[in-house]
Amino acid sequence: MPIKVENLSKIFGKKTKEATRLLDEGYSKEEVLEKTGCTVGVNRATFEVEEGEIFVIMGLSGSGKSTLVRLLNRLIEPTEGSVEIDGQNLATMNKENLREIRRTKMSMVFQKFALFPFRTVLDNAEFGLEVQGIEKEERTQKAKEALDLVGLGGYANQYPSQLSGGMQQRVGLARALTNDPEVLLMDEAFSALDPLIRKDMQDELLDLQETMKKTIVFITHDLDEALRIGDRIALMKDGSIVQVGTPEEILINPANDYVEKFVEDVDRSKVLTADKIMKRPETVDYDKHGPRVALERMREQGLSSIFVTDRSRNLKGYVTAEDARKAREEGVSQLSSIMKDDMPTVDLDTSIQDIFNVIHDAPVPVVVTEDGKLRGVIVRGAVIAALADGNEVNGDGA
């Protein structure tokens, strides 16, 4: 059990005792601030990080996650509680022991990289070993190995300012890995990178983790990132941990309204909606066309049914190929007599999850409408493809 955190609190301000007492009595963060002038950074966090897992601590800004990670290596002095690493309590140990832990057992990667601008990439990577007083030759060799690991072997003699953001953070990662620590603390390590690079870095971290098997505590405000890389996720709000669980547990079983809302919010914005997967519908005109035209169009496109609209594309219903053939044989010229209107309809912003429920037993493709006007249709294949892929699917090509 590499990290065991119990009742860990950080209260900023002078009257910490009183603030602690008020928290014990169940007052909220705001009330404590009002009554004592103290800011609750972290409020009695208790959790355990298993060996070799990526433990994500996630929360919005101001939720205390950055404070919490700094309590883990005591960059911030805890007000209360304990942090046990390999059975040693970091929160109470003396400066020398703390330094020893920081040097050998845990390294940190920073949001804004925190590289030393006057040192080369190699010298940056060597920093951790340099402060331990390791011989130049040995530390250079280890730093080079770490740089190779993150794919920056060829940049050893450059300065950080000569590298892109993504590369700089690789140096940050290499610097942390050079020490060969048991625990990696990553404070919003990828948040300053643009989305594409961020995704690359996430992939790379997961690849590295396959072989390294470090214990990683990863801080993020991005639920997508948390779900992507986390073995387990701790959700924070107002300094407290509201839920700890695997990504599935958090999505399926949100512990409370806050988590639910969080997950929902993310879903609403991220998950695919109808307009992303619909395709252009084949239609016939209610006023102009009869069964003959409808049948012809269905034959051309290889469809078994076709939608009927009026001149301004208001959806009227649909006719099936079978009905149209019968009507033609019987000499019926109006579509109205064979038209059906039991097709399922959804809106442009209906999520795939909901579409999946209605498409299951619909006789015809799901229709997407906006103010009664036909905008597109969704076939079963497109939904399944989108669910399977998890990526955006372009309806026109589906």
């Binding site: 390294s107 940190m108 925190a114 030393f116 402060v131 610097r175």
Partner: protein, 280 residues
């Protein structure tokens, strides 16, 4: 009147008494400093004055050329300026002034940087030292000459002392500022990797603060130059003494020439210290 009822407070007498006592009590410190340091200053200036000017001019010009990134501007100015001073018969005075500035700034920097570091590390130190620095900088510079004479007599040593008091504050302030400006993440990074306080200072904070500190050093050097000129009033030799004696004789010509010599020295020193601070 109410105010007239407050008895006169003998501050001036108190300061007199204090200076007298300090002079008495610490004469065992001041006297050796006066003798030893006076000997060092005299000898340095004398030896410097013995070197043929042409050697010094060439050496300084070469330094200027390389310091300014292999450009000819500063080197050319140095050559013309120094030849002018030599031509006006002020070479020896220039050497004396330079010696004074050199030692005065050296002491200011050697004391100032550690004090600045202390200030940056401790809020208490900062709150005590800041008003002292304000006092040192705003008190008219002439005032320091008086106790300087009491402690060290007349000559170069009291000049260096007065200059030290007057010129040290900038390097202290800039050192403090430079270290406090080091980004929090870099400080956290060095802590997180288990650097000791000294390692953090020498491997991260001072290198990061270097440019700010050098700007402070530049200020300090320029202030000591201005002070060693004033120090001519208590018998410090050099270009300042020429200005002073021209003033006493209301002799505009020699006064201007000596003043011009000071300007040349000031520009050379300023550009040298600034170029030291430029990124290579």
């Amino acid at each position: 009147m109410v105010l007239d009822n407050i008895p006169y407070i003998p501050v001036a007498d108190g300061v007199d008494w204090f200076v007298d006592k300090i002079t008495d009590w610490f004469s065992f410190v001041f006297d050796p400093i006066k003798d030893g340091f006076g000997w060092l200053l005299d000898n340095s200036a004398d030896y410097l004055a013995m070197v043929p000017p042409i050697f010094i001019i060439i050496l300084v010009a070469i330094l200027a050329f390389f310091l300014s990134g292999k450009k000819f501007g500063l080197a050319a100015f140095t050559i013309v300026g120094l030849i002018f001073v030599q031509n006006q018969g002020l070479w020896e005075e220039l050497m004396f002034t330079f010696t004074l500035v050199f030692y005065a700034s050296l002491i200011s920097v050697l004391v100032g940087i550690p004090v600045g570091i202390l200030m940056s590390k401790s809020k208490l130190a900062e709150s005590i030292i800041t008003p002292v620095l304000d006092f040192m900088q705003t008190m008219p510079a002439f005032v320091y000459l008086i106790p300087a004479v009491a402690f060290f007599g007349i000559g170069m040593v009291p000049g260096v002392f007065a200059s030290f008091i007057f010129a040290t504050p900038p390097v202290v302030r800039f050192t403090n500022l430079g270290i406090r400006q080091v980004s929090k993440e870099l400080v956290e990074a060095s802590d997180a990797f288990g650097a000791t306080g000294n390692q953090k200072l020498f491997k991260v904070e001072l290198p990061m603060a270097k440019r700010t500190i050098m700007a402070g050093v530049n200020q300090t050097v320029m202030l000591s130059l201005s002070m060693v000129v004033i120090a001519s009033m208590i018998g410090a030799p050099g270009l300042g003494r020429e200005v002073l004696s021209a003033l006493q004789r209301a002799d505009a010509g020699p006064g201007f020439v000596a003043g011009f010599g000071i300007v040349i020295l000031a520009i050379i020193i300023d550009r040298f210290t600034q170029n030291l601070n430029k990124e290579k």
